[in-house]
């Protein structure tokens, strides 16, 4: 792909992320592993026609993105570290930074481990887990070493491998019936708040874009919305098809309805396509993991600037490896993942709000300073 080399104001001739590339990057880094059980979560917590809830969460995520966009606009492209460091002393921020780093490394490891658990359960029960984790870590290392720019280029290629799987859905149309949707909306659900949190986790990953400011072209913000829209369309498409393909109670009783959905596709040259789909999905999982590791690396790099980035990558990946080895069962991983996801949702909202309030303080201060200057 052709990418022009240019910089803001022409001063930095560093390569910057193209908006198109960025849309795909955003699309790929959202935590879609949860998509495999998303129909069940929506059915369980929201009840009948739970897939509509994705639309509401989509609006919430857009507000979250808006916060990030505001910071970029108000901060005039300064990175959040620059913004924070000018007002708040670094040592106050260290515990918060550490918390964010821990949550992000943890969430990446748990997503990786959940993927491996499902993969093992479905297809290769005899394979050792450590081998899988090792490969993920090795690939993450290769991607992280290249920095965000090379990473995003690689992720665009990975996206091209994952996306064709969506066309398999056409083969399910004969079994699809609108009557199974029922006319009831959100009936028989258990806990809307919990459900909203679960659905929100499917959109996580986007909060890392708050660190992209120094690496992007000027008009990049629309890419955030486009990437998020792409994810939402994908989620709604697959979840809505599930509601017409399965009966409501069947969704409730299937751990991974989307897996069963793809399992049912049969083409003359391919049957039980879920095998292929889920294997290819590894690339999407890899993108999610890498972006969280990258985010953690940015924070660490900012805290102690003297140490080389590769050392940080090494430390982060070792932590990730050890964390991923810890859980023993799918229930454990899901429990950990849901807690870490709640924390990540908290970070996704708290961090932009915090930076935004600092920005307001700075702007307010400037105004007062200017007025006092004027008075002199």
């Amino acid at each position: 792909m052709m990418v022009k080399k240019r910089g803001i104001n022409g001063d930095l001739m560093k390569e910057r992320l193209h908006p198109f590339q960025l849309s795909i990057l955003i699309y790929m880094i959202q935590n879609s592993l949860i998509l495999y059980s998303l129909p069940r979560y929506t059915a369980e917590y929201f009840g009948t026609n739970g897939w509509i809830s994705i639309l509401f969460i989509f609006v919430l995520v857009n507000i979250n993105i808006l916060l990030i966009v505001f910071i970029y606009k108000l901060g005039k492209g300064r990175s959040i570290f620059e913004i924070i460091d000018t007002t708040v002393p670094k040592w106050i921020m260290v515990p918060f930074y550490l918390l964010i780093i821990c949550v992000w490394i943890g969430i990446a490891s748990m997503i990786m481990r959940l993927y491996i658990f499902i993969f093992k359960m479905m297809f290769f029960p005899a394979l050792p887990v450590s081998l899988f984790i090792f490969f993920f870590i090795l690939l993450s290392f290769q991607l992280l070493k290249g920095g965000i720019y090379k990473m995003s280029k690689a992720i665009v290629v990975l996206c091209a491998i994952v996306q064709p799987m969506l066309f398999l859905l056409f083969y399910l149309i004969p079994e699809f019936e609108f009557a199974r949707y029922t006319t009831f909306i959100f009936k028989g659900g258990t806990d809307f708040l919990k459900g909203a949190l679960h659905v929100y986790t499917a959109f996580l990953g986007i909060e890392v874009s708050i660190l992209f400011f120094p690496m992007v072209e000027k008009k990049w913000t629309k890419a955030l919305f486009i990437g998020n829209l792409l994810s939402t369309v994908g989620y709604i498409l697959i979840t809505a098809i599930c509601y017409g393909f399965f009966s409501f109670n069947q969704i409730l009783n299937d751990l991974f309805p989307v897996m069963t959905l793809f399992e049912y596709t049969e083409v003359s040259f391919l049957s039980r396509a879920e095998n292929l789909c889920f294997s290819v999905f590894a690339f999407k999982v890899l993108s999610i993991i890498v972006i969280y590791f990258w985010g953690a690396q940015q924070f660490l790099g900012n805290m102690i600037k003297k140490i080389k980035p590769n050392v940080w990558i090494f430390i982060i990946l070792s932590c990730g490896f050890i964390l991923a080895m810890l859980p023993d069962s799918i229930v454990d991983v899901e429990k950990w993942l849901s807690w870490l996801s709640y924390c990540a949702i908290g970070i996704a909202w708290a961090l932009p709000l915090f930076v935004l309030s600092i920005l307001f303080i700075q702007i307010f201060k400037n105004l007062i300073d200017r007025e006092t200057d004027h008075a002199k």
């Binding site: 290769q142 009557a179 199974r180 009831f184 069947q250 049912y264 049957s271």
Partner: protein, 366 residues
């Protein structure tokens, strides 16, 4: 480039993944058909028979049976494992249920099969009038492999007849749906052949009653739209009191259902049927347009009366393979639907069947 070597190592390692947990096909017993029957002993109520293909040293293909009893489906599999030198693995197979077991309920077995990733969602399910074990073991000279025969038989049925297109996914889907009951084809081995006897209707997961083949065809018409179907019509001539046969082929039908809430809950089923006549043994001259209209009327009456009979039978059995429940559910509020005593409502429903038949042609002959 410095990246080349690690990438090369990764690719080499990925190729090695096939070395772990390998499955040599000669050491496997890939299940082609499994049957679950009720056994005679009370301690081990389920008897499982499996059939898998074998290849002798001379290269001759054959099949082998194994039977074992146990308390649950997977316990019988473990017991079966002790009877053979091969490793039993599931495949795209046919699962048969003996009549006695299906009367008691088959959900537990189907559920445990869906826990096992080895059994795909397209596994075919069927009921056997009698014992599934005996159907699998029956020696029929023209059929070398009963399991393969059954599988292709059911695939053919699925393409011909919408309602006979059943597999694990469809069974579970209709079982879990509160507005429809599942159905499964019923096979018999009484005569010299393995033969389709009709359609078994279910209430929840229990086999209730058998619909004959002609009832199955009517049910197929009532369930949904049909493309390229066929129907045998038996008509009684009023004058001679003789039954005449008429074979309708290339049927394309449109099915529309309505619920009339006011008039004591009436469900109206409207059928619009187009087909061509390939056989007629009656006395009318069917090349004449006037008689064709008359014939259309007779076919309409036949479908109407038989549909009514079938619907009454289904109401009596309390099974709803047509999905009338779905129809009513989608026209009531959630609270009302949950409070509804469906069994009672279903038995009290009135049905009205409207049929319109158009004969497109009467075949090649005049």
């Amino acid at each position: 480039m410095q990246n080349k070597i690690p990438v090369l190592i990764i690719i080499c390692c990925l190729l090695l993944t096939g070395c772990r947990g390998s499955k040599v096909i000669e050491d496997l017993a890939i299940l082609e058909a499994v049957s679950f029957d009720q056994s005679d002993s009370n301690d081990n109520p389920i008897k499982t028979t499996v059939l898998f293909p074998t290849v002798s040293k001379e290269g001759m293909a054959g099949t082998q049976f194994l039977s074992a009893s146990g308390k649950s489906s997977h316990e019988t599999f473990i017991n079966l494992q002790n009877l053979t030198n091969l490793k039993l693995v599931g495949g795209q197979s046919t699962i048969l249920f003996g009549k006695d077991l299906s009367k008691k309920g088959i959900f537990k077995i189907v559920e445990s099969l869906s826990r096992d990733p080895e059994f795909g969602t397209r596994v075919k399910l069927a009921i056997v009038e009698g014992k599934g074990e005996e159907l699998l073991k029956k020696k029929i000279p023209s059929i070398p492999d009963n399991a393969e025969y059954l599988y292709t038989f059911m695939e053919k049925l699925g393409t011909q007849n919408r309602i006979l297109n059943t597999d694990k996914y469809r069974f579970l889907r209709d079982y879990y749906d509160d507005g429809i009951d599942p159905v499964l084809p019923v096979f018999t081995y009484e005569k010299d052949n393995i033969e389709l006897k009709g359609l078994g209707t279910f209430k929840d997961d229990q086999y209730i009653s058998l619909l004959t083949l002609s009832e199955t065809h009517i049910l197929n018409l009532l369930c949904g739209n049909i493309h390229n179907g066929s129907l045998m019509v038996n008509m009684v001539d009023e004058k001679t009191k003789k039954t005449n046969q008429l074979f309708l082929s290339d049927i394309n039908s449109n099915n529309d259902k309505k619920v009339n809430k006011r008039k004591n809950k009436t469900v109206e089923i409207m059928l619009d049927l187009k087909g061509s006549v390939l056989e007629y043994t009656g006395s009318l001259d069917i090349s004449n347009e006037k008689y064709q209209r008359q014939l259309e009327k007779q076919i309409e009456d036949y479908i109407k009366t038989n549909s009514k009979k079938l619907l009454v039978k289904l109401q009596k059995d309390q099974t709803d393979p047509i999905g009338i429940g779905t129809l009513i559910r989608n026209r009531t509020s959630y609270e009302k639907w949950k409070k509804l005593n469906w069994n009672q409502t279903y038995s009290n429903l009135n049905f009205k069947v409207n049929v319109k038949v158009d004969l497109i042609n009467t075949g090649k002959a005049k």
